[in-house]
């Protein structure tokens, strides 16, 4: 079967057409699943609203970088939604594997790269929609955005890379396990990554050494801090370089591993 796939892939339709077909399917599938989209939009907003009201007193701590907790906390919302998208990407592909669609796809000239790019396209689109919603709601609720109009495009670019990175992790899980349940089982791990970061307080204000250490080695902290810098500082080269660097590294590694895993599954 592997030979058939390779031969057909080489002589099939051009890669951009394959990607467009898969991306179109991914986007349509996304639109047709409001039950999957709505919670991933609402839940981060709920946590933002709760934290903004519940932790506003933390802005009175000496050294807190802003006097508005919502300005501080909104960055976390973007990352949370990107991490939720890990589940969406993985769940969709796992569903394709479970219901046999993936096996049928293997018999077509579809290239693995087109399959992955198509899955991730829907995710990037969802990420952009969520970013716009969070930005609008946050600003309407009183969050300040120090970076101005240009900063929004930087924010959108960073959110896209983060979505691809975490989406790639979801794809790896789906491809390796072929089970939607296993992908859902990753949720607690993702939640731990989120919470043991600098999401609720700046790292220099975390009193517990062990927690500050975990937040410092957790890459999610740097993603949050890059987005946070756009809201609070404006243009912080170091925070943005770290955020983009780590997001790109996660994206490259996850896509590389997902591609390798996909190749293995197609050969089975």
């Amino acid at each position: 079967m592997s030979g058939a796939v390779v031969t057909a892939g080489a002589g099939g339709s051009p890669l951009p057409i394959q990607i467009a077909a898969m991306a179109g399917r991914s986007v349509i599938r996304l639109i047709r699943q409001p039950a999957a989209i709505i919670p991933s939009v609402i839940f981060p907003l709920f946590l933002l609203a709760v934290n903004a009201g519940g932790l506003n007193a933390a802005t009175d701590l000496p050294g807190f970088p802003t006097d508005s907790y919502i300005t501080f906390a909104i960055a976390f919302t973007f990352i949370q939604s990107a991490i939720f998208s890990t589940m969406n990407a993985g769940q969709n592909l796992a569903q394709d594997i479970e219901n046999g669609f993936f096996s049928r796809l293997v018999l077509t000239p579809m290239r693995p790269s087109a399959l992955m790019a198509g899955q991730l396209a829907g995710l990037v689109l969802l990420g952009q929609f969520q970013a716009l919603v969070y930005f609008a709601v946050g600003v309407a609720a009183g969050a300040e955005f120090a970076a101005g109009v240009g900063g929004y495009f930087v924010l959108a670019a960073l959110v896209s890379i983060i979505s691809i990175g975490f989406g790639g992790i979801g794809l790896i899980m789906a491809i390796r396990t072929g089970s939607g349940e296993a992908v859902q089982g990753m949720f607690p791990l993702m939640f731990v990554l989120l919470f043991f970061s600098s999401m609720t307080l700046p790292r220099n204000l975390i009193e517990q050494d062990w927690y500050r250490f975990l937040a410092t080695i957790n890459p999610v902290s740097y993603l949050i801090e890059a987005i946070r810098s756009l809201f609070i500082t404006g243009w912080d080269g170091e925070a943005l370089a770290l955020g983009f660097g780590i997001a790109t590294l996660i994206a490259v590694l996850s896509i590389a591993f997902a591609a390798r895993s996909l190749k293995g599954r197609m050969l089975k």
Binding site: V50, L55, P188, F196, L201, A215
Partner: protein, 259 residues
């Protein structure tokens, strides 16, 4: 109350025993219920400890402050997890078999409630042990501490009857989010991170009418050794249990009608 006889309690105990046996022989089911409270305890008590230094935060110990939230949360979520088990049992057909084998079917719900309470003891022991190891100070005496755990048990019963009502109506694990999300939301609409006086914005009035706030305030006052607001806390808890018990029993009737 003629139904409260030996056969009734034998049925309830059989359901409880089966629930606990399944729970402790399947780590994938049991472990998340333990990990989540510990995770929240570490994230809140560890990561937010400097919030205890905020001007106006006059509670004696931040870890104890967060422990009470985690205690109530873990107790309520343990009730919700039982709802998942009920839904799973009915989805697999086990629920129907249990109904055929029980003369008074409320014993099924009571059995799950007994199982949930026994499960809860393990969760309490672990989160309390970890909190004490983390340096949590306890000022209340034995009577106060027993009162605090009693509030946790009442929160567990209320959440259990709520999720059982959903599980018995839908009889499918797909109703899981309907059981979990409302409980999760109502818990977080209480003063989780700081006392109610320090809440700002829309959450302040919401927290002031949220029944969970009364439970949290009661538990926090008990562990601090300065009991206050207990009449309200126990009244709210018992009221919630009464309403949710009716909800669960009506769900049971619907499950019976559906066969």
């Amino acid at each position: 109350m003629s139904f409260l006889n030996r056969a009734y309690f034998a049925s309830a105990w059989a359901v409880a025993w089966r629930y606990l046996h399944n729970l402790y022989t399947k780590p994938a089911v049991f472990v998340p219920g333990l990990i989540f409270p510990l995770f929240f305890l570490a994230a809140f008590a560890g990561g937010l400890s400097s919030v205890g230094d905020v001007p106006g935060f006059d509670y004696y110990d931040f870890t104890a402050f967060q422990f009470c939230f985690v205690l109530i949360q873990a107790s309520a979520l343990a009730g919700v997890f039982v709802g998942f088990s009920i839904a799973g049992d009915f989805e697999m057909g086990m629920g129907r078999r249990m109904m055929l084998a029980t003369s008074n079917r409320s014993a099924i719900v009571i059995g799950y409630a007994i199982g949930a309470a026994l499960r809860l003891i393990v969760v309490w022991v672990i989160i309390t042990g970890v909190s004490l190891l983390a340096g949590m100070g306890v000022r209340g005496d034995g009577f106060d501490i027993a009162g605090m755990y009693m509030l946790g048990l009442l929160a567990n019963l209320a959440a259990l009857f709520f999720s059982a009502g959903i599980a018995l109506r839908f009889r499918s694990l797909q109703a899981g989010p309907l059981m979990q999300m409302p409980v999760f939301i109502i818990l977080f609409l209480a003063p989780v991170y700081v006392p109610q006086e320090l809440l700002t914005g829309w959450i302040e009035p919401v927290a002031s009418v949220n029944p969970v706030t009364a439970l949290l305030d009661g538990a926090r006052s008990l562990i601090a050794g300065e009991p206050s607001g207990l009449l309200l806390a126990y009244g709210v808890a018992i009221g919630l249990i009464a309403v949710m018990a009716v909800w669960a029993m009506r769900g049971l009737r619907k499950a019976e009608v559906a066969g």
